[in-house]
């Protein structure tokens, strides 16, 4: 298994390298002269030249790229022009909130999406299937920002069941803890009141973010189950008197989730991007709202760091997805 993971990890390296090149070219090319931009309109040519040398911009591109690689390796992305703090520090503080949100959304999407997909497939081309197909397409078609506002309006403003925005109620502060996640740290600290409050704050953003993923997982599970139902072993199971329900939910499902697992992996990247909109509407203190701020204030260092971060998460999730595949399918394990 260790060798398996290592090989998959090596396969991801080229695309990470490609990502580094693209981001490097983007920051070097987009503002025609970053040194001049940094020095301001009133700078003398000598001042601009000094900044240029200081930034290493007078060196040839490959040397600049090496320097850039070094910066990235040391997680040195410079200071955010908005918060005036190191970008890496900001990201470290905000990442747990985003992970909390995306994992919650992924959990909702998987726990509901897989059974719904199976139900649709079992009732292929009958009304539950039609209904679920239209609903799942609607889930993908629904603008997350609109859903967020509708949910806020109904559950927070009108009914008052759930909080409107933020991660914790005013007056509460998250206990310090090893994970940085409010939910986990409050559990570790034994502060159930904070945990419950954080959970209540999580519901609406997580539901909003989960919707697109829920729809995708439903569709992929449906397609996978439909395909698996055609397999001979299903016919054999029926012929030897295994109840259909058990065949579908245990045997067929496991074969069908292979495609779904890939989708869950791909979704994770999509969810982090989707968090941009959802976090900014719910004032969730994560990477997403940070990105929106960075975009609105043209904070290029933050945008660069976030792009790299998402690329990295994408790569890691890809490796994890392959590992889950190997757990599901013994044939892959034997390949080594």
């Amino acid at each position: 298994m260790a060798g398996f993971v290592l090989r998959r990890a090596l396969l991801v390296l080229p695309s990470l390298f490609g990502l580094l090149i693209v981001t490097f070219l983007l920051i070097r090319m987009v503002p025609a002269d970053p040194a001049a931009a940094l020095a301001g309109d009133n700078a003398t040519p000598a001042q601009v030249q000094a900044i240029r040398e200081q930034m290493g911009l007078d060196q040839p591109l490959p040397a600049q790229f090496l320097r850039y690689l070094g910066d990235v390796a040391r997680l040195d992305f410079g200071n955010s022009s908005y918060s005036s703090r190191p970008v890496a520090l900001d990201i470290r503080e905000r990442l747990p909130a985003t992970l909390e949100l995306t994992f919650a959304a992924l959990l909702i999407a998987t726990v509901l999406g897989v059974p719904l997909g199976v139900i649709a497939a079992v009732h292929h081309n009958r009304w539950p299937d039609f209904l679920l197909r239209v609903l799942s397409v609607a889930g993908i078609a629904m603008a997350a920002f609109w859903l967020a506002i509708m949910l806020q309006m109904l559950f927070a403003m009108r009914l008052g069941w759930l909080p409107l925005r933020g991660q914790l109620s005013v007056g509460l502060t998250a206990p310090d803890g090893p994970t940085g996640s409010v939910l986990l740290d409050s559990l570790i600290a034994g502060r159930l009141d904070i945990f419950t409050d954080a959970l209540r704050h999580l519901v609406l953003p997580a539901v909003t973010l989960s919707l697109g993923g829920l729809a995708t997982i439903t569709r992929f599970t449906r397609a996978g189950v439909l395909e698996t139902l055609q397999k001979d072993f299903v016919g054999y199971g029926r012929a030897v008197g295994v109840p259909r329900r058990r065949l579908v939910w245990i045997y067929v499902l496991r074969n069908s989730v292979v495609a779904t697992v890939t989708q869950i992996g791909l979704l994770f990247g999509g969810l982090i991007a989707g968090a941009v909109v959802v976090e900014s509407i719910y004032d969730w203190p994560g990477i997403g709202s940070y990105t929106v701020q960075a975009i609105l204030t043209a904070d290029s260092k933050v945008m660069l760091a976030v792009t790299l971060l998402i690329g990295l998460i994408y790569a890691v999730v890809n490796i994890l997805t392959d590992m889950v595949h190997a757990l599901i399918d013994p044939r892959l394990r034997d390949e080594g």
Partner: protein, 327 residues
């Protein structure tokens, strides 16, 4: 006279598809006496798999039994509900050996997980998983599978084709069935393995007091294994009888042509002119008539007659009505 283990009469099955209704089985008749092996022979597409599915009550969506009876030990299976079939017939009193042992096993589960599944539902005497596994191991030894103990924890892709077929044969015996339906169980195997499996099946039928319905397109296998034969052409039973006389002196023109096609049994390779008709556009009356050298107008005018020219033998052909044996 003892009740037949399986007696199918006048079975008609049609499938509703995009292009219309196709009668896959037109009139099927077969009788399987207790303790015997009946070979059901026909070319691919003649309705063999549909017949098996109809007997087991697992016809695909859109398929419907229009008429007929499937009597199993004196009970009409067609009158059983899905739940009754699952509880008392499939996997318990009637078991099944599939054509392709590789495709019939789920690649993601161990052999033990899959094969104990049938026992879980149909062998209530075996209460624990350990008892079920013990029963399987005992049977795996009987079918001469190497490393019977270790086999249950391995995955399907870790076995050879012949070994997988042994696994499924053991599984078919596990719940002490009265009837085993085998769907071309040797087709996917090489010749040597095929031979070993046939010998094994013959032994097991005697040893376990089974009856077996053996579906195949291979007359050589039939000659070797079966006590009686039922020949099917395009969803119609054309001829049936004890193996030796039937193969030696076939009555129906289709059986004769089929035997003529069998290179080991004839001097020249004759072949049959024309092709099996699509069930969508099946000719009326005897479906073989358009390809038959002895066809007359009457053949297509009405359903073929069932005749008993000699004791134990039956043929559905107009030629024998006047007792005139054609040259």
């Amino acid at each position: 006279m003892a009740v037949d283990t399986l007696a199918v009469t006048g079975l008609k099955v049609s499938i509703q598809g995009d292009e219309g209704t196709a009668r896959i089985l037109d009139h099927i008749r077969l009788h399987l006496a207790p303790g015997r092996i009946l070979g059901v022979v026909g070319e691919s597409g003649c309705g063999k798999s549909t017949l098996i599915r109809a007997i087991l009550g697992i016809l695909p969506e859109g398929a419907r039994v229009e008429a007929g009876e499937v009597m199993f030990e004196g009970e009409n299976l067609l009158a059983f509900s899905e739940a009754e079939l699952n509880r008392n017939v499939r996997g318990s009193r009637i078991s099944f050996i599939p054509q392709d042992p590789y495709l019939a096993l789920n690649p993601l589960f161990t052999i033990g997980q899959q094969l104990t599944e049938t026992l879980r539902w149909h062998a209530p005497a075996l209460r624990s998983n350990a008892q079920r596994r013990a029963r399987l191991v005992e049977l795996l030894r009987r079918v001469q599978l190497p490393d019977a103990e270790g086999a249950l924890d391995r995955y399907p892709h870790q076995f050879s084709g012949g070994q997988r077929q042994r696994l499924l044969i053991a599984a078919a015996l596990a719940c002490s069935p009265r009837l085993v339906i085998a769907d071309e169980p040797t087709t996917a195997l090489d010749v040597t393995t095929q031979q070993q499996i046939l010998v094994l099946l013959r032994e097991l039928v005697t040893e376990f007091g089974l009856s077996m319905l053996f579906v195949t397109h291979d007359l050589g296998v039939v000659a070797e294994l079966c006590d009686a034969v039922c020949v099917i052409y395009s969803g119609q039973t054309v001829e049936s009888g004890p193996t030796a006389p039937l193969l030696k002196a076939p009555l129906h023109p289709y059986t004769r042509a089929l035997l003529g096609c069998h290179p080991e049994r004839s001097e020249g390779f004759a072949g049959i002119p024309g092709a099996v008709p699509s069930p969508l556009r099946a000719p009326p009356g005897c479906r073989f008539a358009p390809r038959c050298a002895h066809a007359r107008p009457a053949c297509s005018a009405r359903a073929p007659h069932l005749l008993t020219p000699e004791p134990g033998r039956q043929v559905d052909c107009i030629l024998y009505e006047q007792d005139t044996v054609p040259a």
